[in-house]
């Protein structure tokens, strides 16, 4: 497994080429097939792309990501490739265009190697809800890699690509990053264009990188971030030089520790590991202070009302009429809708559509949906007040390390609770990063989460990089 820095060093010394590097990754993907991390691999196209980058390197015209090989979660469109979202309903759907993040990566001369497996429509926390089979944790194949970006996390962990893109609606980048032991960033809402990201919950969805190092995640964000005319919710906020933010210095930095994130339900080993890292920051001059986010206990409830409501509306487009799966033998339009959807969607997606339909339905809208929107404001206000006194917050990413496959599939609520520390960032729209924080006694990775102010990815990168390299 190599970070981009070591790849660049090898390229610059003439020891290797982009083509060779890509070939090596293709070999690892082939050897690791049983992990089921990929839904599609592009051997010809990626090698072709790599050869083009090699030519540009010789000519001195290569982009900033020349030598980086990226895998893409299968909820993000790559032109002329299938985008299944881990669902049977989009099994044969071929994207007619590139997502903005993909075209920006290509422009920067990154090589796109394939599409990664995921929970269907990004709904899940274990990557067991894929219509194409579950993804296995490389460290212990009887366990889950987290989700929903489990395929992207495993691709990075197992050395199948240098970095990967995932999507995070309630923790879907950070929780799998934590379970597999890699770095995963959910940027600020609006920081990265969602054009070409298949919608799950539009006011929560964010695309972000998974990588072996904070530096690599920062590099990828620098390329994909910024306003895009194709996404009117992408913000017109300047993108700083993220690499310049990695100062290796935390002196005077004010770090908040939200007490609600260290209560009952947190595994002792996870708590100890995170507290050790907090001590490291203290020792190096950071000012550590306890803070309170009083509405923390309401995050999961609020999230599941609002995200399912948005999902039920977004997923109404899968009706079998214009694209996607159409059931055979329907006699009229209504039968076509009902049968296509019922046969095409999996159980968790249907459960969330049903819940979302319920909270939006006449008579319940005020009690659930509107109530949820109000509590969402209280949760965001908690963060805004906390950030008046601190520069970032540190929490565990997940209350536990990876769990066994099958352990939570029949208990949706238990599955939802594994996102208890991550959904708040999506509710508030703030950025969050998960970085590796040692292993538990079973050798399973622990994740530490750093949350930042709106559009201040630079500070959380700085802290993450400091902890990683100190």
């Amino acid at each position: 497994m190599k970070t981009f820095d070591s790849i660049r060093a090898e390229l610059d010394s003439g020891k290797t080429s982009c083509e060779k590097i890509t070939q090596e990754y293709l070999g690892v993907i082939e050897q690791g097939k049983r992990l089921n991390a990929f839904l599609a691999v592009f051997p010809e196209q990626s090698l072709e792309q790599a050869r083009t980058v090699d030519k540009k390197r010789s000519a001195g015209t290569a982009g900033p990501l020349a030598g980086m090989v990226v895998s893409i979660k299968d909820v993000i469109c790559v032109k002329d490739a299938r985008v299944t979202c881990g669902s049977k309903i989009l099994e044969h759907f071929v994207s007619p265009y590139d997502a903005t993040v993909v075209s920006r990566l290509k422009q920067a001369d990154a090589v796109i190697i394939g599409k990664t497996n995921m929970d269907e429509f990004a709904m899940g926390s274990s990557t067991e809800n894929s219509a194409y089979g579950r993804v296995k944790l490389p460290q212990d194949e009887s366990r889950v890699p987290g989700g929903s970006s489990g395929g992207s996390a495993v691709a990075v962990r197992a050395g199948m690509s240098t970095t990967a893109l995932g999507s995070d609606t309630g923790g879907s980048i950070r929780q799998p990053a934590s379970f597999t032991g890699v770095v995963g960033l959910k940027p600020t809402y609006g920081r990265v264009s969602r054009y070409g990201l298949v919608a799950f919950a539009s006011s929560f969805d964010a695309i972000g990188p998974l990588a072996l190092s904070t530096k690599d995640a920062a590099r990828v964000l620098g390329v994909i971030a910024g306003h895009d005319e194709h996404d009117s919710t992408s913000a017109e906020v300047p993108v700083p030089n993220y690499l310049g933010a990695l100062t290796k210095d935390v002196k005077g930095l004010r770090v908040g520790i939200p007490k609600e994130y260290f209560g009952s339900g947190l595994e002792a080993e996870v708590r100890d590991a995170v507290e050790k890292k907090i001590d490291v920051l203290r020792k190096h001059g950071a000012i550590i202070q306890e803070v309170s986010l009083p509405h923390s206990e309401y995050t999961i409830a609020t999230y599941y009302i609002l995200a399912t409501a948005e999902a039920s509306s977004n997923l109404a487009r899968y009706d079998g009429a214009r694209y996607g799966y159409r059931a055979k033998g329907a006699n009229d339009l209504m039968e076509m809708y009902v049968q296509s959807r019922s046969q095409g969607f999996g159980a968790e997606v249907k459960r969330r559509i049903m819940l979302g339909t319920y909270v939006l339905s006449s008579g319940y809208y005020d009690a659930y949906y509107r109530k949820g929107q109000k509590v969402r404001r209280l949760i965001q206000d908690d963060f805004i007040s906390a950030f008046k006194n601190v520069d970032c917050l540190i929490t565990p990413t997940s209350p536990s390390t990876s769990f066994k496959a099958g352990e939570k599939v029949d208990d949706p609520l238990q599955m939802y609770l594994s996102d208890i520390f991550t959904t708040s960032a999506n509710l508030a729209g703030i950025p969050g990063i998960s970085i590796p924080c040692g292993n538990d006694r079973q050798g399973l990775p622990i994740g530490l989460q750093i949350l930042g102010k709106h559009f201040d990815e630079a500070t959380i990168f700085r802290v993450a990089d400091f902890l990683e390299t100190t």
Partner: protein, 97 residues
């Protein structure tokens, strides 16, 4: 508030989904579990709180009304489950009666 089997059938109808009897039972049970959990929001007095529908401040986004290249008809029809000429084809909409 608790969800009945009848509610589940009504939701299914609204969502254009159908379920077996066994699935309906299971959903009724699971939705009740989730809604019981969600009930905790009622502990909060939110009468003076404005609903939050968007997390970052945005005003209207305007663009010039200029013609730009878009998806050609042929491209747009590529993923169609059934098509006829330049159109998506679906089962008959208007009944015989």
């Amino acid at each position: 508030m608790s969800v009945t089997l009848k509610d589940v059938e009504h939701m299914a109808k609204l969502a254009r989904l159908e379920f077996s009897e066994e699935e309906k039972q299971k959903f009724t049970h699971q939705l009740n579990d989730i809604l019981a959990y969600v009930e905790q929001l009622n502990k909060l007095d939110t009468s003076k709180v404005e609903p939050l529908s968007h997390v970052i401040e945005l005003s209207n986004v305007f663009r010039d009304d200029a013609v730009k290249p878009g998806l050609a008809t042929e491209e747009a029809l590529k993923n169609a489950p059934a098509k006829s000429d330049k159109f998506f084809k679906v089962p008959k909409v208007i009944g015989d009666k």
